[in-house]
Amino acid sequence: MEYFLIIISAIFVNNIVLAQFLGVCPFLGVSSRLSTATGMSGAVCFVITLATVVTYLLNTYVLVPLGLEFLQTISFILVIAALVQMVEIVLKKTSPSLYAALGIFLPLITTNCAVLGVAITVVSKEFSFGGAPHLMNLGEATVYALATSLGYGLAMILFAGMREQLAGNDVPKAFKGLPIAFITVGIMAMAFLGFSGIV
């Protein structure tokens, strides 16, 4: 039940792009075509989940026992950068087809603030899913990271679908490109507001 609440909350209620404003730059950057949006979503999903697990373990078993919490930001970003590199190398060797699909998006992910954002949120913010508020344990953190990145994918794919439609329309000159994209996201975010309060 608790995992179910985490999943609903992370995908719909607190959608990472539409409610928490994380990962907006790549969201706008690669969402003009449905196929690239799908590829990016897959890569982000993979990296967010992996990075959250690794940084969670690093924080719980290294930083906190040593009293080095102030090194969180710097160590997390290094871990994420290293992970992205590693995933790239491993994918290239083991699964060339997946690498061809995700490859070009991987280097971009290091500076996707959704990854660092989720990693920091998981170790610092108390959550209450049905029960008493508490810091997440590893299982909850993993489910939260996976669900959050699915929410990222959902928002991105929905938005890419809309942008493909928009591209063929006659948009006023000053609205062309990003302005109309922002306004579209705004309306989408309004629709997602309807989910608030269900968890």
Partner: protein, 190 residues
């Protein structure tokens, strides 16, 4: 312009940069450690002064009490040798996430005052629980022996914030939990 990349100078450069940076961070941490502790102590004392009566001595060391498996941190205000008020930190689930209050409770279950320590409620709606004087002031002197800590919709005596019933309900619940915790503290002392 940039130096040539060989394995040795890449490793040396990264190690050097990391060493210098961690030295800078360690230094800053050492310098700011005392002010950070001071700042959080000041914030706590400020919150305590809001929810506790002015006279008497407050012990700024937190103690804990457990009620129904949930543990609460609390601070005692002493006058001479008797405890006159308790400030209990009470956390419940609000609309957008955890809602943490500091609640001052006098003996006999009378609420002295409340204060929001942290919340993640909707700006402009539930977030008003931190600023809406009319809502906050109704808890001052709230006597739980004659009135019920529930919103009117649920048959209690708390006026909810307009359009924010869930936040108001959570707020009342947090205060009720604190009152229960104080009852337990008093029970344990007898």
């Amino acid at each position: 312009m940039a130096a040539k990349s060989t394995l040795i100078n890449m490793a040396a450069c990264l190690t050097g940069v990391c060493l210098v940076c961690s030295a800078i961070l360690g230094g800053t941490y050492a310098v700011t450690k005392a002010p950070i502790e001071e700042a959080s102590r000041k914030a706590l004392l400020e919150a305590l002064s809001v929810v506790l009566p002015a006279e008497g001595e407050v012990n700024p060391e937190a103690q804990t009490v457990e009620v129904d498996g949930k543990s609460y941190e609390y601070y005692v205000q002493m006058r001479d040798t008797a405890a006159v008020c308790w400030a209990v930190k009470s956390t419940v689930s609000g609309f957008g996430g955890p809602l943490t209050l500091l609640v001052g409770v006098e003996p006999g279950g009378v609420v002295h005052a409340t204060r929001v320590l942290s919340h993640s409620e909707t700006p402009g709606l539930g977030a008003k629980c931190e600023t809406d004087a009319k809502f906050i002031d109704q808890f001052k002197g709230f006597d739980t022996s004659s009135r019920t800590l529930k919103v009117r919709k649920d048959g209690g005596d708390v006026d909810a914030i307009t359009a924010s019933t869930i936040t108001s309900r959570a707020y009342a619940e947090a205060v009720a939990c604190a009152v229960q915790a104080v009852a337990k503290i008093q029970e344990e002392q007898q």
